[in-house]
């Protein structure tokens, strides 16, 4: 039973990690507590489902189109809601409230467009599983973990090695200075938002497929857990998001399995708080976070 529980925990953790990678990406650059991530994640999953069922597209074309469209949505969100705030040098909390507005807007829009029922998401990648003695692992579980690791490494390379990555880091460090160095800060931020929304879609679709269901509220808890995982790992630290996601997933699973299923989220949050008391900037975080 214990091995199976660990596997369950790692799977749940990799789902959180997958969502948290995109979250921490935007978070690291803008230092923005972003409540719209969860609803973008949900939107991406619904879009992909609609492309598959209404237009009859195959899984991969639908997946890629929904990533691109939702990425664009990320740009629209930035241009319409957040750019005007940056222009006015608004406090960070103002942007936070804007992201809450976006999330309420998107959730209710999806509800009006697609209805409020929980919908079946087809298991497009039914690859079976490996059976061990007392536990089993499905290939889909491994794909989810691998995807989050690949995305993490890809993004790390992007940020560390490419020119645009350098510009992103410069923007994160000091927006004004970056501007003076000739970096088109708004373009960089737009790109970051595109990337963040695209990553949210990857997560939303994979999770929708894993649970074989999507509903308009699915992004709410996912967004909070991604936030928790990103902070636990250290804000803006990509490997931290994976680590944070895994810790929260495993602790939640073990809490539900061995302590009390009703308290699972409470125990996960208690562990999060305890870790932050010992390491106030997250497990892998280093620099002191500026005020939000």
């Amino acid at each position: 039973m214990f091995f199976q529980q660990i596997i369950n925990g790692i799977t749940l953790g990799s789902i959180y990690a997958l969502t948290a990678v995109g979250y921490t990406m935007v978070f690291g650059i803008l230092e923005l507590v972003n409540f719209s991530h969860g609803s973008v994640y949900m939107f991406g999953a619904f879009l992909c489902l609609t492309l598959m069922t209404a237009l009859g597209l195959g899984f991969f074309p639908a997946f890629i189109i929904s990533i691109v469209i939702t990425g664009m949505l990320g740009i629209v969100i930035d241009r319409l809601a957040l750019l005007p705030l940056r222009r006015k040098n608004a406090p960070k909390v103002a942007s936070l409230i804007s992201t809450i507005g976006i999330s309420i807007f998107l959730q209710n829009l999806v509800m009006v467009m697609w209805g409020s029922e929980t919908k079946n998401f087809p298991l497009a990648l039914n690859l079976g599983h490996i059976q061990f003695n007392s536990f089993r692992i499905s290939y889909l579980q491994m794909i989810i973990l691998l995807t989050s690791l690949i995305l993490m490494m890809g993004l790390t390379l992007l940020v560390k090695k490419t020119k645009i990555g350098k510009a992103m880091r410069a923007t994160a460090q000091n927006m004004e200075a970056a501007k003076l160095m000739g970096i088109n800060v708004n373009l960089i931020i737009t790109f970051t938002f595109f990337l963040g929304a695209a990553l949210a879609t990857v997560a939303g679709v994979m999770v929708g497929m894993y649970y074989q269901s999507v509903d308009p509220m699915m992004g709410f808890m996912a967004g909070l857990k991604a936030f928790a995982a990103a902070v636990l790992g250290g804000i803006g630290v990509l490997p931290g998001a994976i680590l944070g996601g895994l810790i929260i997933g495993v602790s939640e699973t073990l809490a539900a399995g061995y302590i009390h299923s009703g308290y699972r989220d409470a125990i996960a949050f208690a562990i999060l708080i305890a870790v932050l008391l010992i390491k106030p900037t997250g497990l892998l975080g280093q620099k002191v976070q500026k005020k939000v």
Binding site: E31, P91, F227, I235
Partner: protein, 334 residues
């Protein structure tokens, strides 16, 4: 430099003008029920009053001390539950349960604040969010104390000095009294040495520290005082609606109150009041939109922020406040 006599005269003049304004506003507020508004309008005004207390208290943490809290609903819930349980189990009256609820919320905030308020920014935000989830989940599962999801129905209506409060008009005067108490207390705090320490932490915590402000101590104080008033609001809510359950204190409540503070203007008491009025009314005013109601609510939040990022009344300094501050400075320099 002014002479002492001039100084005293000027101060008297300010106090006089200020009290005139207060008397005017108070008179206006007292006659509201006489406008023979219907019960629905009165209920909305009362709910707005509850949110004013919550928003003003959160404003102390987020607006004045500059600390982002996403868990104000936790203290609201603790206040409501303390009050409901004391009232149901021991039959205590509102005059005892309300202060007990406020003190309980303050005590919990103190215990939470001591270890966690050294955290900053998003790290503090997630801790407060997590804590409020923990409070809700404990309330859901600790059946013996809170009756869990069964909730607590039939909470007694308040009795104040042998006078039973039951109609919306009576509740209106009760919440008005509580709002005034909250406003006056917070106003005094903000315009005292304590309040200036809070603002110093918000503006530049490093500088404040090097000036000898014990930032952790002041953050804890700010947090505790705010929780005290949130607990008071919770107590009122429990005795007003007479039914509470954990569903009523979700993360959305924290978000709602934070939106009121930010929309009205961080670091502005009238701002918190206006924010509460607008966001309590908005969902009701938008009912004619039917299914598009909440879409519009989201859109309003998105559109309002860029128009006044500092909030409706944020950054507006009142002339009298300035004069009074000048007085303080003058006194300080003597």
């Amino acid at each position: 430099m002014e002479t002492t006599v001039e100084h005293v005269n000027k101060k008297k003049k300010i106090i006089k003008r200020r009290s005139m304004i207060y008397v005017g506003v108070l008179a206006g507020l007292l006659i509201i029920p006489l406008l023979s508004l219907n019960n629905f309008t009165m209920r909305m005004v009362i709910m707005a009053g509850t949110y004013m207390i919550l928003a003003m208290s959160l404003n102390l943490i987020t607006g004045y001390t500059g600390q982002l809290s996403l868990g104000h609903a936790a203290f609201y819930a603790i206040g409501a539950y303390t009050s409901a349980i004391l009232s149901m189990r021991f039959g205590w009256s509102f005059l005892i349960t309300a202060p007990a609820a406020a003190l309980m919320a303050a005590l919990v905030a103190l215990l939470l604040g001591i270890p966690t308020l050294k955290l900053q920014g998003a790290y503090l935000a997630i801790v407060t969010l997590g804590f409020s989830e923990i409070v809700r989940i404990v309330a859901l599962n600790w059946m013996g104390l809170t009756r869990g999801p069964m909730g607590i129905p039939g909470i007694a209506r308040p009795e104040v000095l042998g006078y039973r409060i039951a109609s919306n008009t009576q509740y209106y005067y009760l919440i008005l009294a509580l709002v005034i108490i909250t406003y006056m207390s917070l106003y005094r705090i903000i315009n005292s040495r304590l309040g200036r320490a809070f603002i110093a932490i918000r503006e530049d915590d490093l500088a404040a520290q090097s000036m000898g402000v014990d930032i952790l101590k002041y953050k804890i104080l700010s947090f505790t005082i705010a929780a005290f008033f949130a607990g008071l609001a919770g107590s009122f809510y429990a005795h007003y609606v007479t039914y509470i359950d954990p569903q009523s204190f979700t993360f959305n409540e924290s978000i709602q109150v934070l939106s009121m503070v930010v929309l009205g203007g961080m670091g502005s008491m009238p701002g918190a009041i206006i924010g509460s009025v607008i966001l309590t009314w908005a969902p009701e005013m938008l009912r004619f939109l039917e299914d598009y109601r909440m879409i519009m609510y989201g859109a309003i939040l998105i559109v309002m922020m860029p128009i006044r990022p500092q909030g409706i009344l944020g950054g507006i300094r009142f002339k009298l406040d300035k004069e009074e501050e000048n007085q303080h400075e003058a006194v300080g320099s003597e």
